[in-house]
Subunit: 417 residues, 2 copies
């Protein structure tokens, strides 16, 4: 038996052990089965649907939308973005009530938050003319910052992030100065999975008198966040990754309570106005987090999220994180045994405390390989130029599944190199 | 037999006749039944769900989202906003392909369109410092214009619209000057149902060198619109009224092809960038209508719209408008017989060619009456200060239903006056 095969057998035994002792293992059966699927390794791009959601949607259509019709708005839906926001805040974000809302897309929410943050910071001290961003942040964050800086006459100070890691407190400390208005960073880097030091960088921003906007897309539902405790100003993120809200499900936004009164957002819509249903002349923001809202909330689009949130509340984010760490540790071990010998490199932090819920591996052949893997039912994500990203969603992914996928990556890669 | 009773009998006979000869009558059975419902007269606030949608959602969850998982984006979803946009454009808006997209909310879309329009107009001629709006437009339109004018240093010239009618070409001609950058109006007024003269006002704006943004919320799926033929620049509207997309379903936006190249929107997100999946540095807009997109498209939220659009394509917007006119004519006749004697006044245009798909009646007691009507299963909408708005959605509403509702309004009103 070759060395590689011996390693594979050990990995298989370990995966079986880990699955046997995994308290979250039974949750896997709650998700819709997928024909021909060998391994789903992209739960951080699009979480899987829950079996119960189709029935919940039918109930909603028959009883709520079809049954209550327009009355549904008064009876429940007008509050739903805040009710779900509070639940999400409590379950995943460390956010007390009245600060989180489900609305729009991550991009739109970040636009509104960064615009408001720039004005709040500039309002205090007009010498604050810089936005801090990093070169490896998700495109939306970078493009938004570019657009907002251009339209508000600000400059961007780019932190050059190592694509295999992320923005460190040392880098942040060097970049943030008395000229900084707003710092915009991702808590978990979308490529490397680097987990930024949320409390330390938030404190650095505040010590310099700046405000911070955290993008939580790859954290929410995977890595515990403590927005209130860290003293974060603003945050946003999506719900279709670890929160399984479905393709393009509405995003969330967090505005710390201390900023509510001065918070002004640029997209002044009818439902963010005080006494909205008087439809009177002249915009004036509603109280509290309600002023973040612009248009009519996407109630139908929130339905799958509601089901997943119940699951997260049931298991608790700590248990999810615990399994997540074990999954990524196992994936890195499997990489060392199966893929490193073929020239694959690890592009994610090796230390669990600096790593989110996904692991990225790099090899020049991965771009060509991805479609073959997909065709064969092994579904990781590809991130240019050569990253294979393994998103291991704790509630739906088993250790055995992760190993099956990585064994297939090894087989396919062996064929082409 | 009293005069009123005689009138009621005649109305009942006429409703029965109209229903019997209505070619769209069979479509009513395609909608979900609502327990205890006597008459749904608010199809222009929230259209009713189709029976087939629950099953379509289940199929989507099992086969598309659950079955294809992340592969769904490449296989279909990335194009879905444009495929559905084109279908909506062809079926309802008189828009050729490649100009309409399903995205975000009406508020967000209007924000992006007005911002872009202001820059396009200002780019041509910097003396264009005014936005034209009207005092009776829907709140979102007014508040957005206020916010954008403030942030761009523009002034607003308000057309004082008569709340019982709307903006006439004469009023528009008086307001639009060589200082006008952008004109923002609703095609069908949300309160009165006044149907503005789309082609005439568009031409007035263009003759003065200005651009126009039409809000089509109360037109789409009810009144035929001919955006290409009228030479409209920009338009947006929602899909949860006559397009039955469900509470908070995504909105649509139209950008005329001739503006695509110069069109720059403020919310620069990842999917509006050229070669989005390279995720490279520096935003540059994608070609065509794709540059309107900001964040990840709300695919799950579009599902009910897809089903309703099939129905509209099947019947054709002309047949829908024909029934709509008959419904509103009938409602006005019923008003004259049943409600006018009680002091109710008509707050909608009497002429069909200047009226959209709803009719608004006014009485000081209507605010107090609305909850009682709702409790009794008769569901119109109330619009402050004293308007009862009857939204008669042609595919789901029968003449008999409209009459049942109005008879109940008469009974309830008789009790309190």
């Amino acid at each position: 038996m070759s060395k590689l095969a011996t390693g594979s057998l050990e990995l298989a035994n370990r995966a079986a052990e880990l699955d046997a002792e995994d308290p979250l293992a039974p949750y896997g059966a709650l998700f819709v089965e997928s024909e021909g699927l060998v391994a789903y390794l992209d739960g951080n791009s699009l979480g899987r649907p829950l079996r119960r959601t189709a029935e919940e949607v039918r109930r909603f259509i028959d009883e709520d939308w079809g049954g209550r019709l327009i009355r549904g708005w008064d009876e429940r839906w007008l509050d739903e973005p805040f009710v779900l926001g509070d639940r999400l805040g409590a379950a995943c974000l460390g956010a007390g009530p009245g600060q989180t809302v489900i609305a729009d897309s991550t991009t739109v929410n970040l636009y509104k938050l960064i615009r408001a943050a720039v004005e709040l910071a500039g309002g205090l001290e007009s010498s604050r003319t810089e936005i801090i961003a990093d070169t490896d942040n998700f495109p939306t964050d970078r493009y938004l910052v570019e657009g907002i800086a251009a339209e508000r006459g600000l400059t961007i100070r780019w932190i050059k992030a190592d694509p295999s890691s992320g923005v460190t407190p040392t880098q942040a400390a060097e970049a943030i100065t008395e000229r900084t208005a707003v710092v915009v960073l991702s808590h978990v880097a979308y490529r490397s999975g680097y987990l930024a030091d949320g409390p330390a960088i938030t404190e650095l921003a505040h010590r310099a008198g700046a405000l911070i906007v955290w993008d939580l897309c790859h954290s929410a539902g995977s890595v515990p966040v403590a927005l209130d405790e860290w003293g974060v100003d603003f945050a946003a993120g999506c719900t279709y990754k670890y929160l399984n809200g479905g393709p393009g499900s509405p995003a969330f936004a967090y505005v710390a309570e201390r900023h509510h009164e001065a918070f002004r957002q640029p997209v002044q819509g009818w439902l963010g106005r005080r006494e909205a249903f008087e439809m009177a002349s002249g915009y004036g923001p509603a109280d509290g987090i309600r002023r973040f809202v612009s248009g009519t909330p996407p109630i139908f689009g929130m339905l799958p999220l509601r089901d997943m949130l119940s699951l997260v509340e049931e298991t608790g984010i700590a248990a999810i994180r615990e399994k997540s760490v074990k999954l990524t540790e196992f994936a890195i071990d499997a990489h060392r045994t199966l893929l490193e010998p073929l020239g694959v490199t690890l592009a994610s932090p090796a230390e669990a405390e600096r790593r989110g819920g996904h692991v990225t591996l790099e090899h020049p052949a991965f771009r060509a390989l991805t479609q073959r893997l997909w065709d064969g039912g092994v579904i990781p994500d590809f991130r240019a130029p050569q990253g294979l990203r393994l998103g291991l969603s704790p509630l739906s992914t088993s250790f055995g599944e992760a190993l099956r996928g990585m064994e297939t990556v090894r087989e396919e890669l062996s064929r082409v190199i």
